[in-house]
Amino acid sequence: IDSNSKFDDDFFDELEEIFIMADIGVNTVVKFVAHLRSEIELNKTESSDDVKDLIVEEMFKLYVKDEIVSSNLDILDDRLNIVLFVGVNGVGKTTTIGKIAYEYLNKGKKVMMVAGDTFRAGAIEQLKIWSERVKCSFYSKEEGSDPSSVIYDAIQLAKETSVDLLLIDTAGRLQNKINLMKELEKVNKVIGREVPEAPHETLLVIDATTGQNGLVQAKVFNEVTDITGVVLSKLDGTAKGGIALGIKDELNIPIKYVGLGEKIEDLEPFDIEEYIYGLFA
């Protein structure tokens, strides 16, 4: 938007293009741009600076919907906190656990990682290496064990050793695999039986390059677990991860963190204003 632009059809077409190319999702975009257009015509907004502010303001409202949205995790002192990581294959669950463990260790918490992916080649070893990098405890059983039994045993050990934060890794699974979603449902039940109100957070990791299927992922994963937040990974690439806005818009699930790389410190709490500006970068 330069200081000489007129707010005509071309302008709104271009805006639609930017939002669609960010993977926000056609229906949300069309709705949003139409709303923006009527606001501009209603207020007779003239300057491009005012329009820029209006766009940021309206996107902010779309995301926040008159509530307080926090990117904090529900992690309290004096209890065993449990965070469950879920999502489809290859999105960054295991790596994100490494990053979050690092963050909470630096806050003085006693952290334990649980190798709940007992299926994929090298999965247990991958998480084990992360636990060695951050220097926190790690629990696993042999490859091929029932994930629920690994998690059950890990919770007993966590209770015995006064762990503050238990981070549970699960195998990647496509949401249309009914048996795998059933397995996740069972894992969720086991956790809830062993620790009241747990998991305190269930984080759905979404790859920023994901298109419209991300919304389906969120819907289906939210049916077998109570998704409390999204981690938008790989935002250091060229994709904008707009589907996360669609997820907030339709399911009211907030984005808690963004992944910005493959290293242990490459994780930041989500900031909606920063994100909106990033759409136009």
């Binding site: 290859g90 290496i129 949401q175 249309n176 690439g237």
Partner: protein, 293 residues
């Protein structure tokens, strides 16, 4: 699906005779929406619907004869043509060692697919494959490939994580020669197309390996970014083929059309599951009807 949407658009079409340009434009709106929801790239949708519109106008479709179905057929035919009308085959070196390099973004499915491809080609072409571990960064990446090799009874060449990939591949080529391997599949670390240092690493590996195939692994649920990623990898490496993974999911897979339309890279295989026998040769007509929902 698209047929239903065409029917809805056609309810607004009145009278007899041929469909007017306006009628066709109404139908193109539905086609555009459907393709965008399928993750086809915005610019590709624009140029594709323009082509389809011209075809539809050129065919002088009559309102009486179920015009919606006829337009859907044009869309399906054009889409299939774009996907590559016949199956694209792997470039095999029939007189020496066939060399393949797997590249792509983080988590796309390269390591798993490398194993699947070695397994498939060994069976169909009776070759003796060697998998090469060039990912020295991701924790336990080498273990992952070695486990896959063990499950398939296929040799894996690795030199650990402290030797540069360009050195590993050079030694792997010598090893292949000495041990009668006539197929090398090099698995590389996932990387961003905008990471200059990591892309340069691939250029160096390519210069040493001189692969017959550079296969870009693309996650089929990729959205609008597919075009940027594929173009960039192609510009920097001259990709010879693509493999679309996780097609056992329920994503429509519009990235396949975008990839094909913008870079002309032929899609050679489809990943249809996590097991090592779940790799199929790419079927353009199946992909076309999947994208159309």
């Amino acid at each position: 699906n698209l047929s239903d949407r065409m029917q809805m658009a056609l309810r607004r079409v009145r009278g007899k005779g041929r469909l007017t340009e306006n009628d066709i434009e109404e139908m193109m709106k539905e086609v555009r929406l459907s393709l965008l929801e399928a993750d086809v790239n915005f610019k590709v949708v624009k140029s594709f619907t323009k082509e389809v519109k011209e075809k539809a106008l050129g065919e002088k479709i009559l309102k009486g004869l179920n015009p919606g179905q006829q337009v859907v057929k044009i869309v399906n035919d054009e889409l299939t043509k774009l996907m590559g009308e016949k199956t694209a085959l792997l470039e095999l070196n029939l007189t020496g060692i066939t060399k393949i390099m797997m590249v792509g973004l983080q988590g796309a499915g390269k390591t798993t697919t490398a194993g699947k491809l070695a397994n498939l080609v060994r069976k169909t072409n009776n070759l003796k494959p060697l998998l090469v571990a060039l990912d020295i960064y991701r924790p336990a990446a080498i273990e992952q490939l070695k486990t896959i090799g063990q499950q398939l009874d296929i040799d894996v060449f690795e030199l650990g994580i402290f030797v540069k990939p360009s050195v590993i591949i050079a030694k792997a080529m010598v090893y292949a020669e000495q041990n009668g391997h006539n197929l090398i599949i090099a698995d590389t670390a996932g990387r961003l197309h905008i990471d200059e240092k990591m892309m340069q690493e691939l250029v160096e590996v390519k210069e040493i390996l001189k692969p017959h195939e550079i296969l870009l692994t693309v996650d089929s649920m990729t959205g609008q970014d597919a075009v940027t990623v594929a173009s960039s990898f192609n510009e920097q490496l001259s990709v010879t083929g693509a493999i679309l993974t996780k097609l056992d999911g329920d994503t429509r897979g519009g990235a396949a059309l975008s990839l094909r339309q913008v870079t002309q890279i032929p899609i050679k295989y489809m990943g249809m599951g996590e097991k090592l026998d779940q790799l199929e040769v790419f079927h353009p007509e199946r992909m076309a009807s999947r994208i159309l929902g």
